[in-house]
């Protein structure tokens, strides 16, 4: 025990001298290690901070990208399966020297629709609501509702169109604007003037839109060659809505078009429309009705020019269409009174030509000349002496003309203001001097206008 105690006392004493050095060494080492580690920790901390900053930045960027992607996704989600919707708003001021209620086109059977100027003074024009979407991989659907300013909704267009046919074929069914002529397929708000040319009003009641089917084929050629035809129920003038199973309106059309160099584009075509109206009535003092055949030919041509082919700054457009119509059948005089039938035949024509020039960005000027030729009209009751020509006042031979000039300003492609002057000699008695100031706004989905 004592030995152990002695040992315990002596060993530390003996060791003391050695351990002092050792302790100092250890201290030194620890100190050194501390310094080293501190330096390394420092370096690591710096790296960590840098990495964190980098990470933050990356995270920030990622989250920004994510939020952008999310917002894009949300936008897409909201509209994913909904139709593209757009709205066209229009209004105008009209100053007319003649009462618009007396409007008629002399020498021609009235087309039974409001083809003259609308109202004097300030008025809202029809608003159009467009819906379009793909139904599935095979069909797209379009609905165009026209909201009349004094109430009422009219289905202007409502049709399906095939997406999946090939070899240049497209089929359409429903209510649509016929592809005859050049302007017929274009919507009123896309016209270069506030109103349709006279031949469109006299021969098509403004525009031919029918319920029916359309087949169209485009040839696999460098030149555009488009051929097609339509069959319809004949809802409106020049047909008459008939209670029958078959079609009472048929069209054929062909268009050819291409480019000359980079600056010039053109399109030309011929179209044919045949209808068999039955009791197509019109007012001319008394009510008369036509039953028979109506055949209309249209030749159209358009040429567009732009420097370098870029229409943004300057561009020029020249277009013209020629119409020729023959009608033959029976005209019944005063259907509600004596109801006197007689042979009727007419061979009439008309044309218009117009030029529109954009001379600087946003600004365009245009001029149009319309002329109708009464041709020849034979009325059985007049030839037989049963009635006189004075009993058919509107059919008295007259050649209506319309001269129009306009200037328009488009602050953007979604808005347009137009000032239009016209001397309208549709009526045989007096010219109508017209001034229009018009606005057109297009809201919603980006419009894609046909050429």
């Amino acid at each position: 025990m004592l030995v152990a105690a002695a040992l315990a006392c002596t060993v530390p004493v003996a060791a003391r001298a050695d351990t002092r050095d050792e302790i100092a060494q250890i201290r030194q080492q620890i100190e050194q290690m501390k310094k080293d580690y501190e330096a390394r920790i420092d370096a690591l901390e710096k790296r960590l901070a840098a990495a964190e900053a980098e990470g933050d930045k990356a995270q920030q960027e990622a989250s920004q990208a994510q939020s952008a992607a999310n917002s894009a996704a949300q936008q897409q989600r909201a509209n994913a399966f909904n139709p593209a919707v757009s709205l066209v708003l229009q209004g105008h001021y009209a100053n007319l020297s003649q009462d618009p209620n007396t409007y008629r086109i002399g020498g021609f059977i009235p087309s039974g629709q409001d083809v003259g100027p609308d109202k004097r003074g300030l008025s809202l024009a029809e608003s159009e609501l467009f819906f379009k979407a793909n139904a599935d991989p095979y069909f797209s659907g379009t609905l165009i509702a026209s909201l009349a300013p004094d109430g009422g909704v009219d289905v202007e267009n409502g049709y399906l169109e095939t997406l999946a046919l090939s070899h240049g074929w497209t089929l359409k069914a429903g209510r649509f604007f016929s592809k005859i002529g050049y302007l017929n397929e274009q919507h009123q708000h896309a016209l270069d003037f506030i109103d349709a040319p006279l031949p469109y009003r006299a021969f098509l009641g403004g525009q031919l839109g029918d319920d029916g089917v359309q087949a169209k084929w485009i040839a696999p050629t460098d030149l555009l060659v488009e051929l097609g035809g339509e069959a319809g129920r004949g809802r409106n003038f020049p047909a008459s809505d008939r209670n029958k199973n078959g079609a009472s309106l048929g069209t054929l059309f062909g268009h050819v078009g291409g480019d000359f160099g980079v600056e010039n584009s053109w399109r030309a075509g011929i179209s044919y429309l045949e209808t068999s109206p039955d009791d197509r009535t019109y007012e001319d003092g008394v009510t008369n009705a036509f039953t028979g055949h109506s055949r209309l030919w249209i030749a159209d041509a358009v040429w567009k020019w732009a420097p370098n082919g870029d229409p943004t700054r300057r561009n020029f457009k020249l277009q013209g269409e020629y119409f020729h119509r023959r009608e033959s059948g029976t005209l019944t005089y005063d259907t509600t009174g004596i109801a006197l039938p007689g042979d009727y035949g007419s061979n009439q024509s008309g044309w218009y030509a117009q030029a529109v020039y954009q001379f600087m960005p946003r600004w365009r000027v245009g001029a149009r000349y319309d002329r109708l030729s009464p041709g020849s009209v034979t009325i059985g009751q007049v030839d037989s002496g049963a009635l006189t020509a004075a009993d058919f006042p509107i059919l008295q031979s007259y050649a209506p003309t319309l001269q129009t000039a306009m200037i328009d300003y488009s602050p953007s492609e979604f808005s347009l203001l137009r000032l239009q002057f016209a001397r309208d000699k549709s009526r045989p008695d007096a010219p109508d001097d017209q001034i229009f100031l018009q606005y057109i706004l297009s809201l919603g989905a980006h419009p894609a206008h046909t050429w």
């Binding site: 997406l163 240049g168 050629t221 460098d222 030149l223 078009g257 584009s265 870029d310 700054r313 492609e413």
Partner: protein
Amino acid sequence: MKLRILFFVLSLAVAAPAGAALNVLACEPEWGALTRELAGDRAKVYEASTALQDVHHIQARPSLIAAARRADLVVCTGAELEIGWLPLLTSESGNARIQPNAPGYFEAARYVNLIEIPKRLDRREGDVHPMGNPHIQTDPRNVAKVAKALAERLQKIDPANAAWYQQRYQAFDQRWQQAIARWQSEGAPLKGLKIVVHHEAFDYLFRWLGVDQVGTLEPLPGVEPTISHMSQLLEAQKTNPAKLVVRASFNDPRASQWFAARAGIPAVMLPFSVGGDKVSTDLFSWYDDMLSILLKAAGK
């Protein structure tokens, strides 16, 4: 009889159908040039627009409908750049191969990251592009990504020539990557250069080169420059002066000339795509040209 006459007259206009090569309708010249790089003579490329035309406002003219009818593939930017005319071409064409869900419909913008995605959509802010800035062709790294995707698409729709497209893509990509490295070093002096642009047409290019775009002559995207807006920019010149005013080949030169004369800085035209000037005949010479124009004008 009348029917027969009609069809006879129209049939006179029908020319011989196209040959066996792949028919490609490229909406813009850069994608036409890229298709030619990747397909060589195996594709017949028809370009719908030129670098001198504002591609936002191309019209769906008859020749384009005819080209869409024949096309096996349409190669376009997408991102709604062609929204005013491409949907009409596809719907009028009667060609199922190029409908938006078909392999023959290629949108380049799907394969790159778009910048400047607007937070708010309101046409009061001009002709904004809801999906972001669509002028992606002005960053060569975007062109590389599109080339890869386009080569894959070509192989998919024309498997008989898949090896050919693959080989040409690899050769193109190698040359292109080398060119990018060269342009990057050549363009290094442009970093930090302050410029004013007419339209936001080269945002990708300037982002890549580190060029600092301090203003646009257009008060809002797609809205023509106004004197009042340009006067404000002139005022800003005093504190943050731009060294150059840049317009794209399709922009009216007058606005940038007006600004340049008053600011006392050079105005330059950058080709917006292949064919934007005489020197830019393919993708490589186009980028060479853009860089040399900028370097020269900046005095570097």
